[in-house]
């Protein structure tokens, strides 16, 4: 009889009781299994951290080396003790992002962390992993979210740049993942001019390059001359767009790369003039198609707009429940 009592959803993380390990815990624990490097999933102060080598490198950059990091190669099982094994599979979210398959007593549970199904030049694509319980995110879990192809959004960005030879386009993008993906996609679209970046992106861009993801010529925007940034793309964290920092830019068009840009009022609330619907999360079709493909006995929904995804599961005769998790944020993606 399957009971899954070995895995428990607590408000601050998913607890794997036989080995006393936590998945993406919101507070410091002895043993943490981390899906990816975003701050709301990878927090500092843990004893031991199991994560991909890339994620450990990202955490090292953000928190310094404090935890005992145990690199987990993709698709190789790790024994966590207590009869639990963990296997990491790509999640397609950002560099190093992984889903975690946990197995115990013949039961299989997959925790997606954050994921997407669209191609991304900065990380390997999501893999469907069969399981009994599928623990999924639902950041964009409403049917209004349909992310357009990224090529369309990159084309919009390049058109705006052409129309503004005497100014620049300032793109607000999350410092880990989104910024590098936007830059890599611009390069793929043939844009080979220097791209100016905010100081907060420098370390992460260098780390991506060290992991074999070429980003072309990047120059620091801080300290750059107004004149030389004319007709250029500047990438910065979203918070810098409406900050005094942006005053150094020559007549910027304010753009933001985020899945939320699908909603007009969301863009307006942030004074965005050029919304770019670019997301590192699954949209509605990706979320629902993935549940259908994985075809678990039960889906657990960690964070986001869980009510709508629950409703979809109900309409499609799928067992599901929402976990009341704290600490996951989605504002900037």
């Amino acid at each position: 009889m399957r009971d899954f009592s070995w895995i428990r959803a607590e408000p601050h993380g998913i607890h794997v009781t036989p080995c006393n390990a936590w998945v993406d815990p919101a507070r410091p624990v002895e043993t943490a299994l981390v899906t990816h490097g975003h701050a709301d999933h990878a927090r500092g102060g843990h004893g031991k951290v199991y994560a991909t080598a890339e994620t450990l490198a990202i955490m090292g950059l953000r928190y310094g080396v404090e935890a005992e990091g145990i690199p987990v190669p993709l698709r190789e099982s790790v024994d966590l003790g207590g009869g639990v094994t963990a296997t990491y599979f790509p999640a397609g979210h950002v560099l190093g992002s992984a889903q975690i398959l946990l197995e115990h007593a013949g039961e299989r549970v997959v925790i997606t962390g954050d994921y997407k199904r669209r191609p991304d030049p900065t990380c390997p694509p999501f893999e469907v992993v069969p399981c009994d319980i599928f623990i999924t995110e639902a950041t964009f879990g409403l049917p209004v979210f349909r992310h357009p192809p990224i090529t369309e959004e990159i084309a919009k960005l390049l058109t705006a740049l052409e129309q503004r030879p005497e100014g620049c386009v300032a793109v607000g993008a999350y410092a880990l993942g989104k910024a590098q993906r936007v830059i890599a996609e611009l390069r793929a679209a043939g844009h080979d001019a220097p791209i100016y970046i905010h100081g907060a992106l420098e370390g992460m861009c260098a780390l991506y390059e060290d992991h074999g993801i070429p980003l072309g010529e990047l120059r620091p925007a801080t300290g750059a001359d107004k004149e030389e940034m004319k007709g250029r793309i500047v990438v910065c964290p979203p918070s810098a767009l409406n900050d005094r920092w942006s005053r150094r830019l020559p007549d910027p068009v304010t753009a933001m790369a985020s899945g939320w840009m699908r909603i007009r009022q969301r863009a307006r609330q942030r004074n965005v003039e050029l919304p770019l619907i670019i997301s590192d999360h699954a949209d509605w079709a990706e979320l629902t198609d993935t549940i259908s493909e994985v075809n678990p006995q039960e889906s657990w929904i960690t964070h986001g707009r869980e009510e709508a995804l629950l409703r979809w599961c109900q309409l499609n005769q799928r067992r599901a429940r929402a976990l009341a998790m704290v600490g996951y944020e989605d504002e900037d993606d």
């Binding site: 409403l142 909603i263 009022q265 609330q269 409703r311």
Partner: protein
């Protein structure tokens, strides 16, 4: 349609007035007739497609998506048109190419209640999400993109380098898609001929008086009456009645269109008879009584007999073919007084001036104005010409101070538009007895403004952290927060459980310091009713 949708899209994300003007002007210059004329009509709110209602659009959507998923989406997005534009499924087969704006207007105009359910989806299928949004906004008549009719006309003037005052004057005599107006502005042809048309002239408006004292030798004072501002226009044997926004409301008040027998343009306050305003001198009923007559397409004989309308005149713009607008107020007032003999006293009286020795005396008179339930005092520069809009230094309105009451926050709902992620619609109540002896709160009103952006953030957080119950999009709070509510007046109402309806309620202050049981009781509010 794509160009229009693109314009709407760009306007949505543009906050600077100048940038908006430039976008619209550029569109008007580069778009052919008649599309650009229809776009002007859409921006100025002159299009009406009675067969297409927001409810129709919603219903068509519900046939295509699970109602719960629709409701969750609508609640999140905060706007029906946008929700539908995003949720509308791609058609199963390749649709015909997108229509032009002219074609869209023609299709929408031809729709009837009987065929809208079949025709509208076909149109939506031909458009992408952006154009669907523009289409629904256009069809249901609420663009809400931060572009007023005035701004659109200014952009028109800017596009073709013509005076905006002339554009405004011509505007009310012509109909969409305004071929004559474009021929005049864009091609330098003769202006539209409007001599025989009962034109609406834009109203002269007042600034609020703020902490300044005026010299009453320079300014005349008169009452500001609590009705609706109207303009009566008589040309070539025909009389029209226009509301403040320039809407023709003649059919709602037929008794007034028969009452002006000579060519003139008069400015005044529309009121209905009753013993409420103006004391024994045959005054007017409360605004509440007037409201019973507003917005009706037809008027019953009973209504005409029970609540007859009349206009209390403030000003005269044209009389007997003469344009008086350039004259000073004092001269126009004299002209108006001389006209009164020729007007039916049942339908017209003149707004009397307030005799006050000086500003302090006027202030004292105004203090007492509450009893007469009038809105406040107007101050008009004696030499002011009649100019459209709100010109600094000429006219001031000095409203009476608002009434205040302490209420308890009961429910909150997320707002629309820019406030779609904030709990910003607040329902508040008063106690129906002694709260320490088990009295309950009864809702007395709803307000969604009056607070600063900072206060809104605070209120939003308060609602999220103190929710005890959810009913769809509505949250019930723990009823711990006292809000000081300002309002203009309160009336008896059968629609509300408390039996009271406030006029113009707004959140005046957040009383974090005051415990909920010390908020006001219903009796306190009842005592302020002046019906």
């Amino acid at each position: 349609m794509q160009a229009f949708a693109h314009l709407i899209d760009r306007l949505t994300y543009t906050s600077s007035r100048n940038a908006k003007l430039a976008l619209i002007a550029d569109y008007l210059r580069t778009t052919p007739d008649p599309d650009r004329g229809w776009a002007m009509a859409a921006l100025t709110g002159e299009l009406d497609f009675p067969a297409v209602k927001a409810a129709t659009v919603r219903r068509l959507m519900m046939e295509r998506v699970d109602p719960t998923l629709y409701a969750l989406s609508r609640d999140y997005v905060g706007d029906t048109a946008e929700t539908v534009s995003l949720l509308w499924p791609d058609p199963p087969v390749e649709p015909p190419p997108p229509p032009s704006l002219d074609e869209v207007v023609a299709i929408l105009s031809a729709m009837t209640r009987a065929n809208v359910a079949g025709e509208l989806p076909k149109l939506l299928d031909r458009l992408d999400a952006n154009a669907r949004y523009a289409l629904i906004k256009l069809a249901t008549g609420a663009m809400r993109i931060g572009v007023s009719a005035r701004l659109a006309k200014t952009a028109f003037a800017q596009a073709f380098d013509v005076p905006v005052e002339e554009v405004e004057e011509y505007w009310h005599g012509i109909t969409a898609p305004y071929p004559d107006l474009f021929a005049w502005a864009a091609k330098g042809e003769a202006p539209p001929d409007l001599d025989s048309v009962p034109l609406f002239r834009p109203f002269m408006l007042a600034h609020p008086l703020e902490e300044t004292e005026l010299d009453l030798t320079e300014y005349a004072a008169e009452w500001k009456w609590d009705g609706i501002r109207v303009q009566l226009v008589h040309v070539a044997g025909e009389t029209r009645l226009y509301s403040r926004s320039g809407d023709d409301i003649s059919h709602t008040f037929p008794e007034m269109t028969d009452a002006l027998p000579f060519p003139a343009v008069l400015d005044g306050e529309l009121l209905v008879r009753g013993a409420h305003q103006g004391g024994e001198e045959g005054g007017a009923a409360s605004f509440n009584a007037l409201q019973q007559r507003l917005g009706r397409k037809t008027v019953s004989k009973k209504m005409l007999a029970e609540a007859p309308a009349f206009v209390r005149l403030y000003d005269v713009l044209l009389a007997d073919g003469e344009d008086l607008r350039e004259l000073g107020w004092q001269q126009r007032r004299a002209a108006l007084e001389s006209l009164m003999d020729r007007l039916d006293p049942d339908r017209f009286d003149i707004s009397s001036l307030i005799e006050a020795e000086d500003f302090a005396a006027l202030s004292a008179i105004r203090e007492k104005a509450r009893d007469d339930a009038i809105e406040g005092v107007m101050l008009k520069r004696r030499d002011s010409p009649y100019v459209a809009g709100r010109r600094t230094g000429l006219w001031y309105k000095w409203k009476r101070d608002p009434l205040l009451i302490d209420c308890v926050l009961m429910y909150a709902q997320r707002g629309s538009g820019k406030r779609s992620s904030f709990y910003s619609d607040f329902t508040f109540g008063c106690w129906n007895g002694d709260p320490d002896k088990g009295a309950e709160l009864l809702p007395v009103g709803k307000a969604y403004f009056g607070f600063t952006d900072e206060e809104l953030k605070w209120l939003d957080r308060h609602v999220r952290q103190n929710t005890v119950n959810r009913f769809g999009p509505v949250r019930e709070t723990d009823k711990s927060l006292v809000l000081e509510i300002a309002f203009d007046s309160v009336h008896a109402s059968k629609r509300h459980k408390s039996g009271l309806a406030m006029r113009f309620p707004r959140i005046h202050r957040i009383r974090k310091d005051k415990p909920a049981h010390e908020a006001d009781r219903i009796e306190a509010l009842q005592a302020l009713v002046r019906d």
